[in-house]
């Protein structure tokens, strides 16, 4: 008997493989020699060279740098339930266009950005990162979104000595000196939790608090840090609920929490769970003080909540809100509004804090590349690990970026508490900024820092 099905399968497989080969192209090369690397590494200070284990590095320190371009790569969700975060890129793309077109690039080199979609899936982020380094030949990775996603790539990038700059997550994990080539950007979630604890201590010292968090290490950052921060106070946690990343519907969890009648609720939520939780709370007759994750505050997410649901929510920020009239005459804000409109995509939303964050990230990267001793990977990394009180982009003047090689790997540790007002349509500042400079590791429970 002729095995006709198998034969069809063989033909089909042949056709598919041929298609893939044609579409993907080959290009396997041996890794380049380390001779250029030695010369490049000399410009790096001894301490930095040690910290970055430059001698063990395999890759090419100047890959992605030509006479007229600097190639940068990123991977973030452009599809799926986390696609809201893709708006961050509109901010830094606008900034790069501005620098390229008006300022002649960095030292005459144009910034070339390649951004791949990973749908927030760690496996795809890993493939994207390798592809960006191997196929696109980027100099560095930039603002990769997601804690699990960065965890999936930081080992390989560490081995290949590729900078993973300004990861778009506030996980305290990025303080790990064992992964010197990865630096975060967003203020740590644990600092937020401490600020909420301190605010409650001052304003409602016997508060009963409910917690609603995402069931992963993002949410755990809030739970564990807050629990630790209220030790020794009269604040108590009366209920804890979690929701799954894949299912941002929190209605039943909120119902359970509402039954406790707690005085305050901390929402360790992100993406679509933010408006969902606010709506759910709004739908009950429970009126707690609502503390919400800093990742939720942009109009993209909170804007999806029902009218009135977001009124009075408290969060933190390190960046200027474009809708806040106190910055109307601010130079940096005016630059953002003007150049963002000119160089950004046609539909760029310049009133959106998420775009303001992206713009600031772009500015931070450009400043790092400009201030580096030279355009090699170790030198740029050394600069990123030694940012000296830099207020750039739309960072608050009270929240400069600051890192110290070997001591403080968290760029943003000064946070401003703020409260949203429906009437005003923006967040008002609450009190003075809290300075945690150099303290993230201290105030964060150890279990959250060790990967």
């Amino acid at each position: 008997m002729i095995r006709s099905n198998r034969s069809r399968a063989l033909v089909a497989l042949l056709a598919v493989l041929a298609l893939i080969a044609a579409a993907c192209g080959g290009g396997r090369e041996d890794s380049s020699s380390g001779e250029e690397n030695e010369a490049a590494a000399e410009s790096t200070g001894d301490e930095a060279a040690d910290y970055l284990h430059v001698d063990d590095c395999e890759g090419d320190f100047t890959q992605g740098i030509t006479d007229d371009t600097i190639k940068i790569g990123s991977s973030f969700p452009q599809s799926g339930t986390f696609a809201a975060f893709a708006q961050i890129s509109t901010g830094y793309e606008a900034y790069f266009n501005y620098v390229n077109e008006e300022l002649g690039g960095i030292d005459g080199r144009q910034i070339e950005l390649t951004a791949l979609d990973d749908g927030y899936e760690a496996g795809r982020t890993a493939t994207n990162a390798q592809r960006l380094v191997e196929e696109e030949g980027v100099f560095a990775l930039f603002n990769v979104i997601g804690t699990a996603n960065n965890l999936a790539i930081w080992d390989n990038l560490e081995e290949e000595c590729v900078p993973n700059l300004f990861a778009g997550t506030g996980s305290p994990l990025w303080g790990d000196p064992g992964h010197a080539w990865t630096v975060g950007s967003f203020p740590s979630y644990s600092l937020e939790a401490v600020m909420y604890a301190r605010y409650l201590e001052e304003n409602d010292p016997t508060a009963e608090v409910a917690l609603l968090t995402q069931n992963d290490d993002f949410g755990e950052s809030y739970v564990e840090t807050f629990t630790q921060a209220i030790e020794g106070t009269d604040i108590t946690i009366v209920a804890e609920e979690t929701y799954e990343v894949a299912n941002p519907d929190t209605t039943s969890q909120v119902t359970s929490l509402a039954a406790t009648g707690a005085d305050a609720v901390i929402l360790g939520t992100t993406a679509l769970a933010c408006p969902n939780a606010l709506n759910a709370i709004n739908g009950t007759n429970w009126e707690p003080a609502i503390f919400i994750s800093g990742t939720c505050t942009s109009p993209t997410l909170v804007g999806l909540a029902e009218p009135g649901a977001a009124d009075g929510i408290i969060s933190v920020t390190a960046f200027k809100d474009p809708r806040d009239p106190q910055w109307a005459d601010d130079e940096a804000m005016q630059l953002f509004l003007e150049k963002g409109a000119e160089h950004g995509a046609a539909d760029i939303d310049l009133e959106n804090t998420i775009v303001a964050y992206g713009w600031t990230m772009g500015a931070l990267l450009v400043d790092t590349l400009t201030n580096a001793a030279e355009l090699t990977r170790p030198a740029v990394m050394e600069q990123a690990l030694n940012i000296d009180n830099l207020v750039t982009g739309l960072a608050l003047p009270t929240s400069p970026f600051n890192t110290v090689l070997g001591i403080d790997k968290f760029p943003e540790e000064v946070l401003q508490l703020m409260q949203y007002s429906d009437d005003l349509g923006y967040y008002e500042f609450l009190g003075e900024p809290q300075d945690f400079e150099g303290q993230t590791a201290e105030v964060t429970p150890e279990s959250l820092i060790v990967p």
């Binding site: 008997m1 099905n5 497989l13 090369e29 749908g119 899936e121 191997e134 992963d216």
Partner: protein, 364 residues
């Protein structure tokens, strides 16, 4: 036709098979590391889908939970290599035994339910898996996951890169597994398994021990999925981390989609399905990132409308159509297989998707 006769058709197919084998072996020399790692993940996934094919395609027991077995295999290897310093390959038997037992444990109560209800139970299994992982975070690393040690090419492999080594190892396991499953399906045991799918009462009347075969098939199917998960994790050149978000219900659904796309009760269909679910999302992202999921879903729906029996079923219809056009109906039709218009899955050769048990091969 005698099996040994060398007809032109068989000669052509022989050449195709050789070319295909050469291409498959050449992949790691041609493509960059990340692509090779992608192909390695296709191999691992195709093994998992093969396991699902055995259970769902050949035995008719629907499982929307194979992502969980895959995940158990993956985490077994991850935990043993990361925390207990086992060699990667030596974790495979552990993963397989664990998953076999788990499959039997699910297969036993599954005797009482079928169809949609069984699907729901397996769905629950798939949903529970990431939650269990997060609950026992001391062992499993919780939501942060576990970093898997690199699966390195040994010294005797002549300077082969790690990604190439992983590819060849996975390919070897895949070939062995596919051959074994194909042999199983064509054997007496296989006929019993298929007979159960086609009509339980008839099978029982004919002397097939329903409970034994159904539970065994569940166990073996889970075991194969566990092997696949274990191998998947060894592909450390690009992804060297396990975390629960990688093994959610979505994965189980993707396996099922891959099964149906390739051809539900075929042996090589899983490979086509695996290629589809790994590469199409990437291409649809390149077409339009925002709409990539919509495009993927759209392509899936279109495929199901145009090729309800999967790629292989569709190819058969194309072939039959071409042959009809050529007018070589009589003799060639016997050789090519029954007219697909006679029934959706009527097949001539191996005990594949069968309408009735009478369409059985004379020789095996």
């Amino acid at each position: 036709m005698s099996r040994l006769a060398l007809s032109p058709r068989r000669a052509v197919l022989g050449v195709v098979a050789v070319i295909l084998a050469a291409l498959v072996l050449y992949i790691p020399q041609y493509f960059e590391e990340f692509r090779v790692a992608q192909f390695s993940s296709v191999i691992a996934i195709s093994i998992a889908v093969l396991g699902l094919a055995l259970l769902t395609g050949f035995n008719g027991q629907i499982s929307v939970g194979h992502g969980a077995f895959f995940g158990v295999g993956a985490y077994t290897t991850a935990i043993l290599t990361a925390d207990h310093e086992w060699g990667h390959l030596s974790t495979i038997p552990v993963a397989m035994v664990l998953c076999f037992l788990l499959g039997v444990a699910v297969g036993l109560p599954a005797l009482r339910i079928s169809g949609v209800y069984l699907a729901l139970v397996t769905l629950a299994l798939a949903t529970l898996f990431p939650l269990v992982i997060q609950k026992y975070s001391d062992i499993t690393g919780g939501s942060t996951g576990i970093g898997v040690p690199d699966f390195e090419a040994p010294a005797w492999a002549g300077g082969m890169a790690d990604d190439q080594w992983a590819y060849y190892v996975l390919l070897t396991f895949a070939v062995i597994t596919f051959v074994l499953v194909r042999n199983l399906v064509r054997s007496r045991v296989g006929r019993a398994i298929i007979a159960i799918r086609d009509g339980e009462t008839a099978a029982e009347v004919l002397g097939v021990n329903l409970a034994f075969y159904k539970v065994m098939t569940f166990g073996i199917s889970a075991m194969i999925a566990g092997l696949a998960g274990s191998l998947f994790v060894m592909n450390t050149a690009v992804l060297d981390r396990v975390d629960p978000a990688q093994y959610t219900i979505t994965l189980s659904i993707k396996f099922l989609a891959a099964l149906v796309i390739g051809g539900a009760a075929t042996i090589l269909g899983p490979v086509l399905g695996a290629l589809f679910i790994v590469f199409v999302p990437e291409y649809s992202s390149e077409v339009d990132a925002e709409l990539s999921n919509v495009i993927f879903g759209g392509v899936l729906i279109a495929l199901m409308l145009v090729l309800p029996t999967g790629f292989l079923g569709g190819l058969r219809r194309i072939e039959a159509g071409i042959l009809r056009r050529l007018g070589r109906d009589g003799e060639w039709r016997r050789a090519a297989g029954p007219d697909p218009r006679d029934g959706p899955d009527a097949e001539a050769d191996s005990p594949d998707p069968g309408g009735s048990p009478t369409v059985e091969p004379a020789a095996s």
